[in-house]
Symmetry: C2
Subunit: 373 residues, 2 copies
Amino acid sequence: MQKIGILGGGQLGRMLLQNAANYHVTTYVLESGKNPPASSLCHYFIEGDIKDYETVYAFGKLVDTLTIEIENVNLEALFKLEEEGLKIFPRPRALKIIKDKGLQKEFYKQHHIPTSEFYLIEHKYELNSYLNFLPLAQKLRNGGYDGKGVEILRDQTDFTKAFDAPCVVEKLVAIQKEISVIVAKNKSGDTAVYPPVEMVFDPRYNLVDYLLSPAQISEEQTALSKQIALDVMNALDSPGIFAVEMFIDVEGNILVNETAPRAHNSGHQSIEGNYCSQYEMQMRILQNLPLGDTSVIQPSLMLNLIGEPNHSGAVKYKGLNQVLKMSGVYVHLYGKHETKPGRKMGHVTITGKDTNELLEKSQLIKQQLKVVS
Amino acid sequence: MQKIGILGGGQLGRMLLQNAANYHVTTYVLESGKNPPASSLCHYFIEGDIKDYETVYAFGKLVDTLTIEIENVNLEALFKLEEEGLKIFPRPRALKIIKDKGLQKEFYKQHHIPTSEFYLIEHKYELNSYLNFLPLAQKLRNGGYDGKGVEILRDQTDFTKAFDAPCVVEKLVAIQKEISVIVAKNKSGDTAVYPPVEMVFDPRYNLVDYLLSPAQISEEQTALSKQIALDVMNALDSPGIFAVEMFIDVEGNILVNETAPRAHNSGHQSIEGNYCSQYEMQMRILQNLPLGDTSVIQPSLMLNLIGEPNHSGAVKYKGLNQVLKMSGVYVHLYGKHETKPGRKMGHVTITGKDTNELLEKSQLIKQQLKVVS
């Protein structure tokens, strides 16, 4: 049996493992903490720090193929393991580019991928040189995730909340819509592109509130966004699954915001909404099997279940009974023991005939289903 | 978190656990052997004999709710555990009736459920009293599974292969079609009925070769078979999920063949083909949540992957590459290490627009995908 290792033990690993159980593989997970979401669904759970060189290196030595479910892993160990022959998807060199949001932006520029204007800074005081560039988005080059590590600076008074660390400062895009296109490549070089999804953000936490699949955009925008996502993946030159997040600005231009080198929140709906889910796709990539059909089975809406404000501690899910009475509603709870405000605790996918039906159901679900302590 | 225990660690447990990971529960599996299919997907795997009183009793004491994925478990322990307050779905009294195929047939008769004529015998020599009853099906009252424990006796020369043990002898039905209806009930008394599926058997192993969902039968037959399945469940008077297998004879009569008090091979297609899969349904029952929508999303065909004749030993799956190139094809491998002729090693579900498309694809898959050693 092929031995597959996953760096990271969160919900993306958990959902990957739910799918891995359809294959003849042995699974290994590395993550710190006693019982992260993925720990109960693998053959071997190893408790350890994914950012530590020795730990990641030793873990890599246990498996035949390695993948990630979070970017924030020890890169040096991955380069060393790859040099020694381990199959790692995504390849460390692609991960290196993406992991550092500064390198990532420079990579887009170098490969003529449309993206917003930007500068790289090392310290907060440098912001004073970019007053003409306001309003801007300041993003930590390293370590940001789930909406953390990003500040919107509209004017100088916002500088108080600015990061004092190596950052990208990006010209704020006048956003009409945010979309995401998931693309996949296996070792044989086959590629697959998912239909774009449309993301609506929760401004409280800068997290996806809900997404609509497929995105309600023009055919031209659909085709162009898919081509851009393919271009990004081809330039990264690595097997793997990638989520390319894009802005459509008020003038209709498509600009790449950022890329994740892994399964992504913007692909959760694919479990029920598309013929081949992003996790099934990742499993096929890890085994160098033919890629799956990315088509939509039915339109769907994916709603993140986020810890309510003012609730911290052992989690409870309020309103599950009402929600499960609805048809075409799929609840995914991530098995996290503790909730806190803004923490991603699960998601709900709704399938339906059209957008109105999806939005109506999602409104009801939002009113009823609450993550509390 | 609710603690859910599963007696048995085979593929049905494995698929239940894939679904259980969508809920906030802790899972326990009891099964003998080091690595049965379900052992890597639960929080706690306990190696032990599900037929042993002390082992099952001790296991039951670890959990809040208990279920089964195979009938062949220690009943006395379940009665004792239920008496002491443990929630067990199906209830032990329903399991007791079903576990013994003699009691099961008597139960149908008692509740006016249509079923074939039968007699109970203790020894092989008694067959000589039923020569007028030939051809007949002889079924072991206890311990049969997956097509084992059944012999078709067409005439006296077949008596050499007859069982010498407590058996049911049933008048052989002139079968037009075999169908199955899965029904579900939660503790609150809500019920749900799946559309009937049509089963085609592999005569080599007396196992389901493939099934079609929904069954191609008349509206009247659909309605009647659903009503019969509900009648069986209501007479059993137990929460749980039940597969009621039925014959449609050449005259169009519907007769109950047998009932399984659990998720069943004839419901595997529901994972992709129906809004609420049988495993999702079972998870809802175990948590006393509202039952799901049993409707068909798309017609589907489920093909069992059975170990090829003359192949025993470490398993290999030949032809996976060709099969995964098809759209709407879902492969489920059960993680069993060893194959042997006739062993259920996995299944493939195909979704499609109509029966012709499904049958065509299934022919291709059968030719290509082989379970060998």
